[in-house]
């Protein structure tokens, strides 16, 4: 792997991103649904090392936003560095209700309450965009991985059956694949949603998304895998195994699957970003995970209005986050394919 730094770098970067997203509870300073209604659409806070007198501080600090003018709704915010708060590592936050502790949690960084830190600014309801980005990643990246896993498993199974057994099984599966490839996802989701109960919890909505994306997406990998299986089953060692009386399951498991694993892995690396984008699209349109739970799609939904698009650039955060992730996935797939081709040649 070291011989291929591009593969190594993209794999490590992707692993790190997923690690941070999985550990959102620790890395995010706030609960993603916590509203700060007095700080709606506040821009990202600056991290300062120098105070107003120009003195350097080893411990960085942030200055809270205050409304620019005394108005019902502030048109903008200004920094009030008289109330600067130093940044701290490993901060414990406690949520109280009726004088009792409801929830306590540790966070990698933060500032002492009642001060707040909004690294990426806030949204319409004053929710911390950085925390929402990390928690939203759990939904969007998770949906991409799981849906890719589902569609790839189905594709692998059906592709192997179609390619290995051929005849009527091949016809049925491949015509079915063509049908699924022609299905418009969004309308399918609309239709499925119409049959389901009125409200779905976050978990059910998430499962529904994965199911629709995963179940409709198997056709393309199945066709590719079928092609590989068709070629593999003519190989000498497969014919020999069959001649020795090996069962079909055994042949597929021991001889065919290793053949298609490289293709399957590359397909996975290509499908994941595609499915992340599908989840983002669905949530953007209000068909995925609903408020107040974050997803990168529903976080982008407010950009449908001109005023947000024009004046609140930080609301693009989740859209911008997709770019390096997609590039990493494609770079990973590309390097993987290159490496696997080399392996094939060396066999």
């Amino acid at each position: 792997m070291i011989q291929n730094p591009k593969l190594w770098l993209s794999a490590v970067a992707l692993a790190l991103i997923h690690l941070v997203v999985i550990g959102a509870g620790l890395f995010a300073p706030y609960d993603p649904t916590e509203q700060n209604r007095d700080l709606s659409m506040a821009p990202p806070m600056r991290i300062h090392f120098f105070d107003s007198r120009g003195r350097f501080h080893f411990r960085p600090f942030v200055c809270p936003w205050v409304a620019e003018a005394e108005r019902a709704i502030p048109s903008g915010y200004v920094e009030d560095c008289n109330k600067a708060s130093p940044l701290r590592l490993l901060v414990r936050r406690v949520t109280m209700r009726d004088g009792n502790t409801l929830k306590a949690s540790w966070h990698l960084f933060g500032v002492d309450a009642p001060a707040q830190i909004f690294l990426m600014g806030t949204d319409d309801y004053g929710r911390d965009l950085f925390s929402r980005l990390l928690y939203g990643g759990q939904t969007s990246l998770g949906a991409g991985l799981l849906a890719a896993g589902l569609s790839l498993s189905l594709g692998l199974l059906l592709g192997c059956v179609a390619g290995y057994f051929g005849a009527w099984a091949d016809d049925v599966i491949m015509r079915g694949a063509e049908l699924f490839m022609a299905l418009p996802w969004i309308y399918l989701l609309f239709a499925v949603r119409a049959f389901l109960p009125l409200h779905l919890g976050t978990r059910q909505a998430f499962i529904l998304l994965i199911s629709v994306i995963g179940l409709t997406g198997w056709a393309r990998p199945a066709r590719i895998i079928r092609g590989v299986v068709l070629s593999a089953r003519q190989r000498g060692y497969v014919l020999a195994a069959r001649g020795f009386g090996a069962s079909s399951v055994s042949i597929i498991r021991r001889h065919i699957l290793p053949e298609v694993s490289s293709v399957a892995l590359t397909q996975a690396a290509l499908l994941v970003p595609q499915y992340i984008l599908a989840e983002v699209t669905f949530s953007f349109l209000g068909l995925g995970v609903g408020e107040p739970e974050p997803s990168w799609g529903n976080m982008l939904a407010s950009l449908q209005t001109y005023s947000v698009l024009e004046g609140h650039w930080w609301m693009f955060a989740s859209g911008i986050a997709l770019v390096p992730i997609f590039l990493l996935f494609y770079s990973f797939a590309d390097s993987l394919q290159g490496r696997l081709q080399l392996l094939d040649l060396s066999r």
Partner: protein, 605 residues
């Protein structure tokens, strides 16, 4: 005209004395000015045999062109069949009515009828029409046009949207010509503010449409592609050009029957154009680019965007204050006995508890909705009448501040408790969990739902937001009743309580929360039904006001719906637009299109 004075004095001779005085003076002035009363009958000049209506206020400058925008093409220019907003907006400029509701004062004023009288019984009205008025093609207008117009609107085969308005107690109003310029109207029963019925009933040209009507083709005439010379009305403008998907141009009607105090015949403008701009955002961009001169119905977010750039640009923004629109949260209180919706029926046990609804109302932070959803450009509401409705608002309705403690007390009274994990449960231990139906295309209502969700979570209620496409939302609310709660907005008609009957009485077509009422009907609902019906026949304004005040009290007290906010009417116009006076009802901007002018032209008489 102050409706209160009129009614309280028991005077049944209606009409605006100020107007008549002004009119008398104007005829005197006009007839003494030879330049304004020439012998030759040209449309541009006033004639002594013409009943010209003299407007009040500032005078403007003649000439010039204004550009406004529409979100889509008008479907038709035929007032008999028009239902969509763009059609109504354009038709409002091409045609005129007998008695008009002034969008600014919200009171009736003479239009094509220069005065009117009601009988002591309140069932007979006699309208005196203006003499010498001509349609935009130069053809004279008289009582035959009025009788013809009402005959067409009341024809049940045509399904005109005005037909329902022209029925009182389910029976049509009878219309009779009693002179060339006099028409009598007989109502089946006394009807409060009957003169408001004449607003928006556009008078049609009999000479152009009689044949089409006789042949049963009247609903097919006057498409937007029709020859402009074949369309004639009594409004300030007439059609010049219509390019579908691009623009509609209206030109000045030289025969219009209004003049300003200095004797200049209105309208001031030579032309008004409408560009077809499909979305509000695109409209704002075109306005900023200087392509259109005025825009109405701006959302609060876009208003804020325009506000930021205002200093550098040559336009003015106007916050006309709360309009007649009220947004509310409502629970499904329909009778579900004939539907297979057991889960919703179970939750209705909560929704029907007055204390439950009151607790929800007490827990909602209306001020946050105003700040976060409307950026301060809205007014919180506790009943259905907005401060924009100057004549009917009940100022005594309490406006309690948000109180979670009061909400919790109310819930305790109703038998709800909180579990150790903070979840609110009913008497049977069932968690209080329900959904709010919204349509994502309306970002503001979705935001309201999100705030309500967070507010109610603080009471331990688990609220889900269900975004569905608008038609699907409507189908559930009006058809299947398969929903738990929803957020909707309604606009209070012409600011009078009468159009609200459909909303507040049992069995009303827009009684959205209980289209199918359960029996027995709650006492407070019975009282609302009785009061709303009774006020329609009260001719005395204070008594009507008292009745409607009580309806507002009942709504605020029993929360059949939880009124939340009334968005402000936000409009913008270039600095070069004069006579600009945004109103909170009707067409916010162009209701006085005949008095709009350009300040950047020299002007001519």
């Amino acid at each position: 005209m102050i409706a209160g004075e009129q009614y309280s004095g028991g005077k049944l001779e209606w009409g605006d004395m100020n107007y008549r005085l002004r009119y008398g003076l104007c005829v005197l002035i006009l007839s003494s000015l030879p330049s304004l009363a020439p012998a030759a009958p040209t449309p541009q000049a006033s004639k002594t045999d013409e009943d010209i209506l003299i407007t009040v206020g500032d005078t403007g400058r003649r000439g010039g062109r204004l550009l406004a925008s529409l979100h889509s093409d008008p479907k038709t220019l035929n007032p008999v069949t028009a239902v969509d907003f763009p059609s109504k907006q354009v038709i409002g400029l091409l045609f005129a009515d007998l008695i008009h509701i002034d969008a600014y004062t919200q009171r009736t004023e003479p239009a094509l009828a220069k005065s009117w009288k009601a009988s002591a019984s309140g069932r007979h009205y006699t309208l005196e029409l203006r003499h010498g008025v001509r349609f935009s093609d130069g053809h004279p207008f008289d009582a035959d046009d009025v009788v013809f117009s009402f005959k067409v609107y009341q024809d049940e085969k045509l399904h005109s949207p005005q037909r329902d308005l022209l029925e009182v107690a389910g029976k049509p109003i009878q219309v009779r010509k009693t002179g060339p310029y006099q028409v009598d109207f007989d109502l089946p029963q006394p009807y409060a503010a009957a003169e408001r019925l004449f607003d928006s009933v556009r008078i049609l040209p009999r000479h152009l449409l009689e044949r089409a009507y006789a042949e049963g083709k009247i609903s097919q005439v006057w498409a937007t592609t029709s020859d402009p010379s074949q369309i004639a009305g009594l409004g300030p403008f007439r059609l010049k050009q219509c390019v579908p998907g691009q623009q509609i141009v209206l030109e000045r009607n030289p025969f219009y029957w209004k003049a300003d105090p200095s004797g200049i015949r209105l309208p001031y403008l030579d032309e008004i154009g409408f560009l077809i701009v499909p979305t509000e955002d695109a409209e704002v961009i075109r306005f900023q680019a200087g392509d259109v001169d005025l825009i109405s119905r701006i959302g609060a977010d876009n208003y804020a965007t325009l506000e930021q750039a205002q200093r550098a640009r040559d336009y003015q923004l106007y916050d006309a204050g709360p309009g007649l629109e009220y947004n509310f949260l409502f629970f499904n209180l329909n009778d579900l006995s004939s539907k297979q919706l057991p889960d919703i029926a179970r939750k209705q046990e909560w929704f029907r508890r007055v204390e439950f609804r009151q607790a929800v109302s007490a827990a909602i932070d209306r001020d946050s909705i105003v700040r976060l959803v409307y950026r301060g450009r809205a007014t919180p509401l506790w009943d259905q009448v907005t401060p924009g409705n100057k004549l009917w608002i009940n100022a005594a309705i309490p406006q309690p501040a948000r109180s979670l403690a009061r909400a919790a007390d109310l819930l305790r009274t109703a038998g709800f408790t909180r579990r150790g994990d903070g979840v609110l449960v009913d008497g049977r231990g069932q968690p209080v969990e329900f959904s709010i139906l919204t349509n994502p295309s309306n970002a503001q209502r979705t935001k309201i739902a999100t705030i309500v969700q967070d507010d109610l979570a603080q009471l331990g209620m688990q609220v889900h937001i269900v975004p569905l496409e608008f038609q699907a939302v409507m189908a559930r609310i009006f058809g299947s009743y398969d929903y738990e709660t929803s957020v909707l907005g309604l606009v209070g008609g012409d600011a009078d309580p009468n159009p609200e009957i459909n909303v507040w009485t049992s069995g009303g077509a827009t009684h959205v929360w209980a289209l199918s009422e359960t029996h027995p009907v709650p006492e407070w609902q019975t009282e609302i039904d009785r009061l709303m019906q009774a006020q329609t026949a009260m001719l005395d304004y204070p008594k009507r006001k008292q009745a409607y005040d009580r309806v507002q009290e009942l709504v605020a007290q029993f929360d059949p719906v939880i009124c939340l906010v009334s968005p402000h009417v936000l409009v913008a116009a270039k600095n070069t637009v004069g006579g600009f006076k945004p109103a909170v009802m009707g067409d916010y901007l162009l209701w006085n299109a005949d008095q709009l002018f350009r300040t950047d032209i020299a002007g001519r008489r």
